[in-house]
Amino acid sequence: MGSTTSNLLYLITIICFILALRFLSSPTTARRGNWIGAAGMVVAIAVTLAHHGLHIGWRIPVGGAIGAVFGAVGARRVRMTAMPQMVAIFNGVGGGAAALVSLAEFHNLTPAPGHLHGDVSIAIVAAALIGSVSFAGSMVAFAKLQELIRGRPITYPGQQYVNLALFAAILAAGIALVAGAEQQWLMVALILGSLLFGVLFVLPIGGADMPVVISLLNAFTGLATSATGFELQSNVLIVSGMLVGASGTLLTILMGRAMNRSIGNVLFGAFGTVQAGAGTGTAYEGTVRSVSAEDVSIMLSYAHKVVVVPGYGMAVAQAQHAVRELADELEKKGVEVEYAIHPVAGRMPGHMNVLLAEANVPYPALKEMDEINPEFPQTDVALVIGANDVVNPAARNEPGSPIYGMPILNVDQAHQVVVMKRSMATGFAGIDNPLFVDPKTAMLFGDAKESVLKLVTGVKGL
């Protein structure tokens, strides 16, 4: 197949990808959208295989098979709570592939200096740099979410300057490569430097901000992919990569906005403000009231309206099925149950929706923040399951709080609040969430799943 025919057929892939993004925007068509995307990918692979200049050999089928098996097994085996990590891994390997394509292309094209067109060398440098940062950054994001390394920001004095100096060195290597110093070692140095930069870039960012980081790195991989298109004069790579680069950037901004933080604050916040905020953060004095599961069961059974506020604690404990069961029991007793979904509850936007959907919670019961907030004053019990920051009234009332200004779920306006939490020193304790010492709040300590199951038994018995 000649390149004109291939480019024509690649157009099918491009159309499929655009439709895939469009269909992914609606719950009813999303799954079809994903299949259309996959179909577009199959077309692209088939067209590339049929390209007459391609020497298929053993590397393409064997490499493809190894990667496909790894991808399929990883994606099938992963638990729903670990999905953010999995997205990070698959994103990272994509970035790594883009960097390696650049490395191979550079190695292949430069037997002698002064051989490359300026735009091709710029594309090679850009894809190698961005792809490597995305690979290394994604692996650190994975390690943080998997708790292989601690999720807290890792900082040291002068970190900013180290990162800045490293980035300047990488840029200098890139400029030298583009300017004609087409040395293999310089290319390798650029990739190694970028890998190190990717690690250093993500280390100071806290585990809670990883979704934003993964989204940003996802956009990075898209850009790197697009750049490889300029190396290989491939329109399908340019367009598809850029579609992801653009939509990924928008998604990152939307996620930041949901936390009322700029992307700059998420990425560089640990260097200054957040650190200081955490050190001088207000501790609230007061009595934490602990209650038994039996008491909460009674409270719930005699309520008219209960709003469940799920957070990461529910995801960790895999409590979503138990929560659904509890809601069923309550509905049998005529209690109205709704779910309040904060945009950044859990570790990915939509994380809670995915988990609750897995437990067959019907869509109409899932309410977004703007929809549910006016309903809290008419809510008898707000049941907070493993959420903390997204229900912290300090975000509304305390200008000194590190999360001040973040939109929150106003659970403190409900008649009663039950917070389910793993543990906390009871009695007088200095804590950072005034909700916990609110006289309306009762704390139910223990593993979220066990506690919810106790509630199910309790409600059934009444």
Partner: protein, 104 residues
Amino acid sequence: MSHYATLVVELTILVLAVFLGIEVISKVPTLLHTPLMSGTNAIHGIVIVGAMLVAGIAGADTLTGWIGFVAMILAAANVVGGFVVTDRMLEMFKKREPPKERDG
């Protein structure tokens, strides 16, 4: 077409893709943000085309071949893993019957 004429065409479609990428996802509900991130993650698996092109350069030296081979592994994992994970997420968004009325 000369090299630079081609480049101008490439830059044109690049710019159009930027606007299209922003436009096409601007109305996504929060509920679908995770699947969307995962879906776009699968789509940048198109880098597999690049991996195939470098792994399949006729007469390339051994090192280029091996780098291409590793790129193939990574890109294929991105493609297959990306689409399968997205499908698993979306599997849960199947249309369901509205909640049945229960007697109290």
